[in-house]
Structure formats: C-alpha cells, structure tokens
C-alpha cells in the first residue's frame, strides 16, 4: 500500500515534497492507468502520492504583453474554453482525448508525463514555450526542449512541481496542425505535426515519431530561405527514427510527415 497526501495549498504541497519522495497526481488520467491493477486490488503506485488537482494556485490563465501564463493545474477543458488563448493552441487541446477525460486531465500532467505521443508537446516546441518549476526552495525556468529529455523522462527534480507554462505570444500568419490516430477521437497519436508561420518564419514540430518531439531550427531556416524542397525533406528524413509497432509502421509515420512538409511548403507559394 501507499500513503496519500492531500495538501491544503501549494506551500504545503511543496513542503511535503521537500520532505518526502512523493508522486504528484493531477487529473490522474495517465497515472491511474499506468498504476492499473486487477480491478478491486490496490493500485500499483510506485510510491506515496500527493494530490494536487484541487490546488487553486495551479489553476490560472493570465497574460502579459508578451506571454500567456497557464497554470499546471488547468484542465484541458478549461484550456479549450479560454477565449484569451490563441485558436491554434486550443485546436490542439480540443483534439485530445474525450470530453470526460478533458474535464480531468491537466496541462501539467501531459507535460510531466513526457509520453512520446503527448499531444501538447509539438505545440509547445513550435511555440518555444517555457516550463516553470517550483520547489520549496527554488524556482527554475526551462525551455521545453531542456525539460523533456526522453521518453517518459524530464528534467524535473523529485521535489519540484510544474507550476506553469509560459506560452509566448506569436503573430501567427498560417498554421497546419494534423493529428493522425487509429480513429477520429479518443485515441493516441501515431504521428502529430504542427507547423506555424510566425513573424520570424516557419516553425515545425513533429510528435509521436521519435521518443521526443523533432524540431530543427536549421531546417526551418532552410525553408525560410526558400532552400530546395529535396534538401529540406532529406534533412527531416534523417531526423526521423520511427518504428513499427502495434499502432502503425515506420514507413507510414515518416511518409505522412514528408507529405505534410510538402503540403506546408507548397501552400507557402
């Protein structure tokens, strides 16, 4: 059995996390499933848990002149419903899971879980988002690339919580988002593709193919400079390390990425 901690506020949560090794539970939509067990037996949690979903201090969406600040405890449903946030971001979240899951699942959970198929990540990579981590004694700000260090691996220390995501305000001219799954809803991505054209040009992030999101500033530069299509495609091909698994094939994943890149580059002309 494991112990359950239910803090009254963020400070208490961070104090306890400084003193004990605790697994945060937000919406639980990843964690409860990973801790699955024979129905009716105790959940197979890997340690003691701390519940954070009810903490109001993690549930805010604000903006400054340059950025949106989104609390880690904001649910996917709240994210989708928030008019302040840009459409291209809300569209991504709106295609995740199902209405019931979106009511429970949090933004922080998707980021901290660091699944290779996590749908928020291509968006955050393309937007150059930053993750704010807090512990009792520290506050760190990491670019998303530095936070996500592998499949199910992040740079989070055990005593830290994700506090918020900083999403820079971009002047978006054009977007192309596509999530491929085995069906149209309530399904994990086989491939996900986010292309944005902002004031500084194209940004492309590819999810669910490699262990972590693929983003190459160098290739984006080549696209912006109108470099040869073939060299761009070859450049991306070299970065993709898809595999065959129970949901899809390497061939399919890589070909669809190439198709989407071509579509993006063609539409530009």
């Amino acid at each position: 059995m494991y112990k359950n901690y239910r803090p009254n506020n963020l400070k208490e949560a961070l104090d306890w996390m400084a003193e004990h090794k605790l697994i945060p539970v937000a919406g639980g939509t990843d964690l409860m499933i990973r801790a699955r067990n024979w129905q009716g037996a105790s959940r197979a949690m890997k340690g003691d848990v701390i519940y954070i979903q009810h903490l109001d201090e993690l549930r805010f969406i604000t903006e400054t002149e340059t950025d949106y600040h989104i609390g880690a405890g904001v649910t996917q449903a709240q994210f989708c419903q928030c008019d302040m946030l840009p459409d291209y971001a809300r569209e991504v979240v709106g295609q995740m899971a199902t209405p019931a899951i979106r009511n429970a699942a949090t933004i922080g959970g998707n980021i901290a879980n660091a699944a290779s198929v996590a749908d928020l990540l291509p968006l955050l990579y393309a937007a150059d988002a930053k993750i704010v981590l807090r512990s009792r004694d520290s506050r760190r700000v990491l670019p998303i690339q530095s936070f996500e260090i592998g499949k199910y691996k992040t740079a989070r220390r055990a005593d830290e919580l994700i506090f918020e995501v900083i999403l820079p305000k971009l002047e978006i001219r054009r977007t192309l988002y596509k999530k491929m799954g085995q069906r149209r809803a309530s399904i994990l991505s086989k491939v996900s593709f986010m292309a944005l054209e902002a004031e500084d040009g194209t940004r492309i992030a590819i999810g669910a193919v490699n262990d972590t999101v693929v983003r190459s500033k160098e290739l984006e530069k080549r696209i912006n400079e109108g470099g040869g299509v073939k060299s761009v495609l070859d450049g991306y091909k070299a970065l993709l390390h898809g595999s065959d698994d129970k949901r899809s094939t390497k061939r399919y994943r890589e070909r669809v990425v190439i198709n989407l890149l071509m579509k993006w580059m063609e539409e530009k002309r």
């Binding site: 105790s42 085995q182 069906r183 949901r247 669809v256 198709n259 579509k263």
Partner: protein, 694 residues
C-alpha cells in the same frame, strides 16, 4: 399495435437507471475471488511448478481438482480446463488462485515459479497449413463440373483478414457456488445449456446436481457463446472444492488477449468467366483456429456454405480448412465465418466488374439467385428472393446512378450484396438443438415465457414478449420472462446464429396460439412446443448437400468514403442499406441492429487491426485496439422491404448477424474507388493504403 411498431425495451429502464445487476455487482455471502494463473509461453511442456507454502485463505485450483474430466466439452473435448503438462498458447490457464483478498492473491501469485521446456510455437497461418498434422478439419464439396467448363478467362485473387475482438462492454465473468448440494454457476453468457453440457462432463454429475443461471449480459457478440463453458468449469471445480462462492471476472486486458475472437483467414478465390458472367468458382479458405478446435469447424462450414452469396454459379469447387496454431483460440463472433468469406466474395465481385468495365451492381444483377434456384450445396431456395427489388431500393434511396456518374476526387463508392442464413447450419436445429419452449399461463392470468435464450443487449426479451403478447392479444406488460436458469427453463437452444427471433420466436408464436384457446381455464396452463424441421429442409451432413439454411435474409449496401491524400485516413461519410429480413419484429430494434452492425462492420473494415506476434495478441488494450467512436460513425441510412417468411413468427427472418457481414467489402471497394488502389486485406488502415500506393 402492429408487430412492426416500436415499443419500449423491456430491459431498457433498469439498464438506463443503473439498477440492473451484472455479475460483478452481485453479492454472494462468503465469496472468494479467483485470478487465473496463465502460461507465459506459447508452446512447451511444464516441467515444474513451485507453489510457495499456501497462506491461510489462499487456495489453488488446478487440473487435479477436476472431479471427473479435465476437459471442456464444446464439440470436441480437446481443450483442458486447466493446462497440466503442456501449454499450447500464451495465456493458457494453468490454475486459479483463489482467496478473500485480491492484494494477497496477487502477492502470492508473484511468487509462483513455473518452469517450462519451451518448444518452437507455430504462429503463422500459412506456415501451419503446410503441416498435415496442423490441419484440424477439412471439408470440401463440388457442384457442376468445374474442370470441364469452357471459359474466356479466369481471375485469381488472394484475400486476408485479421482477428476481430467482440469488445462487449461487460467483461467475461462467472460465479460458482454450491447451493443445497447443487453446483451452480451464474454467468454472463449466451448459452446456459452449453455451459451445463460442459459442466456435466467436467464434474461428472447430472443436471439435477448442476445448474446454470444467466446473469444480465452486457454484450456478447458470440464472445460469450462457447468461452464461458471454460470459465464455468473452472469456478464450478473451485466452488465444489472450497464449498464457498468463487467469482472469476476477467480484467479487460486478459479478456482482450486471451478469450476467443474472430478467426484470421486466408482465402484464395478463382472465377471462371464467360460472356461477362461468372460460370464457375474455386474457393479455398483457411482459418486460424488457434490451439483448440472449439467451434472453428462450424465457423468454417458457414464460410463455405454461403460462399456464393446472392449468386447463381453453376460450377463450384469449395474447400475449407481449420488450422492449428499456437495463437489464442478463436471462436464465435457475429457473422460466424461469413464476414471473412463474404468480404472475399464481394470485393472479388467488385474487382471483376471493374475488370470487365461494368457497374458493380449491374454486373451482380446478372447473377442474382431467385426462388427455386439451386443453392451452392444443391438445396433449393424455398422462399421468395427479391434481390432486384432490393437493389432498386438501394439505388433509389441513395441516388446511386447520379452519384457514381459524377466525377469525384478522393471520394469513392462501393457496394455489396450479402445473404445470411438464419438458424443452425443444415439440419442442426432438428438434429443437434431440438429446441423446446414453454409458455405458462399463471393463475393470475399473466403469461411467462420459458426459454434458454438470453437478453444480451440485442432485444431478445422485447421481441419474444411482443410476439407472445400480440398473438394472445394482451398487453406486453402482462407477459413475463423467466431468467434463463437450467432448473427453470427448457433447452430452447443457444442464443446464437441469428436464431432467437426466427426460430425460438416462431415456437413461442405457435405456443401462444395454442394457449390462446385455453386462457379462460383456471389455474396454471403450460404449453410446450418442440422444433419441427420444415419439409423443404433436406440436408446430408456427410456429403454437405442440401439446404444449408432454412431461410436467408438479404442486404444490399452502398458505402461512400473520402480519403485524405496526405494522411491516407479514411472518412466513411455514408452507408446505405436495403434489407430483406422478412417482417421486422419492431422497427426500432431492427434499426438498432442495423446501426450496430454497420458500425461494427466499419471497424472491421478500416480500423480494428489485431495481430499476433509470437503467439501473443499485440493489441490487447483500449488504447491500441480502436473501435469506432461516434466521431467515426457515418450517416447511416436504412430501408427494408416486407417479405413474410412462412415459418417465421409474423413472417420474420434473421437480422442480427446480416447487418455486419456486408459492410467491410463495400467500404473496401469504396476506398479503392476513391484512391485508385487494389486491396486484398482488411482492415484497410492508412498504413495499408500507404503501402498500396507505392
């Protein structure tokens, strides 16, 4: 009230309100939980099992505990209740670990050590079929003389299908108890008397000491036809030994990985064409039966008997084989062999039409069977068959001619024409099933239906009650339905083969007609009816000649899809269906079956990819095995003709399976039409499309 008018479902309110108690909700005093100890390998001998010392309140039930036979009697008795010396598939049950506390059971199980002498498993269907000792059954028949015919050309194609999982909402579950000296099994199941038969053999007791009671069943689709017999034997042995109720409910992942599913198949079909007509056909199908025969031979028979579909083809050579592999054992699933063979036939017919430069419906029309024609097995179609009328109906309701003549980009249409025979194959109803129904007038004037056919979401209680109420000209709420309990109801046969309304309903209608004259009598009146084979059914089980089915229902379908040229994703936008099910008993229930069948068929056609790797099912979770969600469901259009069947209740024929069978070939043909490829396998996933485009 007309028989076709929609009524509220008898079981609807309880289910909507959450009041219905399924096996997992039911309380039994002193109950123990059971968890299955399973093989971790696909093939080998068990050389040693080391059970740590048993704590108090943990018990092991295994082969040694079977009172009479460690065998599950299905048709053969080749499957053990618990694997003893050898294991033949990954996940095969070796024992039940039983206890009061689930955590304690799991902790104990983690310490059990099993040693195996592993052997090379045979998991590939085609490889297995090359080994003579892996052919479990083989059946063949011919018609006309295929080797002598003159033809313009012959066309050969190979088709493959994968597993399909029933994915009933309620998982497999049973409880075994000993009540007043009677070993009783409660369970979510389709066939109480199949389970009873298996129990008699395994327990060595008769029906006075054994009892099976069906509990509300949250979906089944064939998955709870023969498989619960295995579970019933396991919990019966456990309850008998421990003298306490024992509950075995599979977890979703166990259920998806280790219980029966639709047979993967490989089919080779050759057509001999003369003057743009199919003159002869050679068809060969093999089914991956897994490690035990189960019902596979019967599934294969349905596949080969209906293989010519709605067409009159004079010269035939048919062969079917069930092949032993070390994959999970396969079994009954809505359609029972027909989804495989009709997929191959109908997509092949569409390919032939295209090859001959003809409209696929026009090409089919030239081959349509009619009343009096010989069936593939040289029986005679006894009832009126209106395939042209159905095809006209489909064309009109969908605006077919105009739609297909318009130029389209990345949108396509596909059709199928499919029969489904109601009831058991050949003389099975008379020789094997011998259904008996009872109708009882209670002393208070109410009437109770006594049958072993179960409600599993399909609406059986509603249709059967309605048939009885209308014959008796009384309100439906005065007609009751006894729980299918082998101590209370006669054996009216299993709830399978689209037979419940057509066959059992007809017996009840007859019983009700007799009861009607005696309703004025005081006290209880019981009417018993036995199945009688209609005169026109002639069947020789040795030569496989005669009427393979009593009567056929028909569907003519059109599917429309759009294909995304970038992601190869398929969006099915519409399915139109024109049906002949005789006379529908309740239009709403008919529409329910049609919509459900279309959606389950669509899953089979484009997304439900289930594969086995080294003997293990790869997609055994909801997150990797997708079935359609509401977002995937196209517009569903259905119309039907009224064509009363002389031996059906109020003219009804079968519905349940038909509605799934024709969907996959229509959708596959539509995808081909949209994007200009030829396919030969289902599901046609985006990955398959990508590969086909080169």
């Amino acid at each position: 009230m007309k028989i076709t008018d929609a009524v509220h479902r008898v079981d609807g309110a309880g289910k909507l309100k959450g009041e219905t108690k399924y096996i997992e909700d039911m309380h039994f005093d002193n109950m123990l939980y059971a968890k299955t100890l399973r093989s971790k390998i696909a093939k080998g001998r068990i050389t040693n099992i080391e059970y740590p010392e048993l704590p108090k309140e943990i018990f092991i039930i295994d082969a040694e505990d079977m009172p009479a036979n460690n065998e599950v009697a299905i048709i053969e008795r080749d499957m053990p209740v618990f694997a003893k010396d050898a294991v033949r598939y990954l996940g095969e049950p070796i024992a039940l670990v039983v206890g009061e506390d689930k955590d304690a059971i799991l902790k104990y199980m983690s310490k059990i050590k099993i040693e195996y002498a592993e052997e090379e498993p045979v998991c590939d269907l085609s490889q297995a079929a090359k080994k003579p000792d892996h052919i479990m059954t083989e059946r063949a028949y011919e018609k006309g003389n295929l080797s002598e015919i003159e033809y313009d050309e012959k066309v050969t194609e190979i088709f493959e299908t994968t597993y399909q999982e029933q994915l009933y909402m309620e998982k497999q579950g049973v409880v075994g108890t000993v009540e007043e000296g009677v070993v009783t099994v409660y369970g979510s199941l389709q066939c109480p008397y199949y389970a009873l038969g298996a129990l008699k053999h395994a327990m060595g007791m008769d029906e006075t000491k054994l009892r099976v009671i069906q509990t509300p069943t949250g979906g089944a689709f064939g998955g709870k036809e023969e498989y619960p017999s295995l579970l019933a034997c396991q919990v019966a042995a456990a309850a008998y030994k421990l003298k306490r109720p024992v509950r075995l409910v599979l977890d979703r992942r166990e259920d998806m990985a280790y219980t029966t599913k639709r047979h993967p198949s490989k089919m080779v079909i050759t057509s001999y064409i003369k003057d743009k007509k199919v003159l002869g056909m050679d068809f060969d199908i093999m089914l991956d039966a897994g490690s035990y025969l189960g019902l596979s031979d019967v599934v294969m028979q349905r596949a080969i008997f209906t293989m010519t579909g709605g067409y009159k083809i004079a010269n035939l050579k048919m062969r079917g084989r069930t092949v032993r592999t070390n994959n999970v054992f396969t079994g009954a699933f809505r359609g029972f062999g027909a989804p495989q063979s009709m997929y191959a036939l109908e997509l092949h017919m569409s390919h032939l039409a295209k090859h001959l430069g003809e409209d696929p419906l026009k090409f089919r029309r030239r081959h349509y069977v009619k009343r009096g024609d010989l069936t593939a097995t040289n029986g005679r179609f006894n009832e009126e068959i209106y395939l042209d009328r159905l095809t006209d109906l489909l064309e009109n309701m969908s605006g077919y001619k105009e739609a297909v003549s318009k130029k389209r980009i990345l949108a396509g249409y596909g059709v199928s024409v499919v029969p489904h025979g109601g009831g058991f194959t050949g003389d099975g109803e008379a020789v094997h099933i011998k259904a008996v129904v009872k109708l009882k007038k209670e002393s208070n004037g109410r009437v109770t239906i006594l049958v072993s056919n179960v409600e599993m979401g399909q609406g059986a209680i509603t249709t059967l009650s309605k048939i009885v109420a209308i014959v008796l000209e009384m309100d439906m709420d005065r007609v009751g339905y006894e729980t299918p309990d082998t101590f209370k109801v006669p054996d009216s046969g299993p709830t399978v083969a689209s037979r419940t309304t057509m066959v059992v309903g007809a017996l009840l209608a007859r019983a009700a007609a007799k009861l009607k004259n005696r309703m004025h009598e005081p006290g209880e009146v019981i009417i018993t009816e036995h199945f009688k084979q209609p005169d026109y059914v002639k069947w020789n089980a040795e030569t496989l000649q005669g009427n393979a089915y009593m009567a056929y229902s028909w569907s003519v379908l059109l599917a429309r899809v759009e294909v995304d040229p970038v992601s190869y994703e398929v969006k099915c936008t519409d399915i139109w269906g024109a049906y002949d099910v005789g006379v529908p008993i309740d239009e709403k229930l008919l529409i329910g079956q049609i919509q459900g069948g279309m959606v389950q068929g669509l899953g089979y056609a484009i997304m439900e990819n289930m594969t086995s790797k080294a003997g293990g099912i790869e997609q055994f979770t909801f997150s990797s095995y997708p079935i359609p969600t509401t977002m995937d469901v196209p517009k569903l259009h259905a119309e039907w003709i009224i064509n009363p069947y002389q031996d059906g209740p109020f003219g009804a024929k079968s519905v349940g399976e038909l509605t799934l069978v024709g969907v996959a070939p229509a959708v596959a043909a539509a995808i081909e039409d949209a994007i200009g490829i030829i396919t030969s396998e289902i599901p046609v996933t985006p990955e398959v499309i990508e590969r086909s485009l080169v």
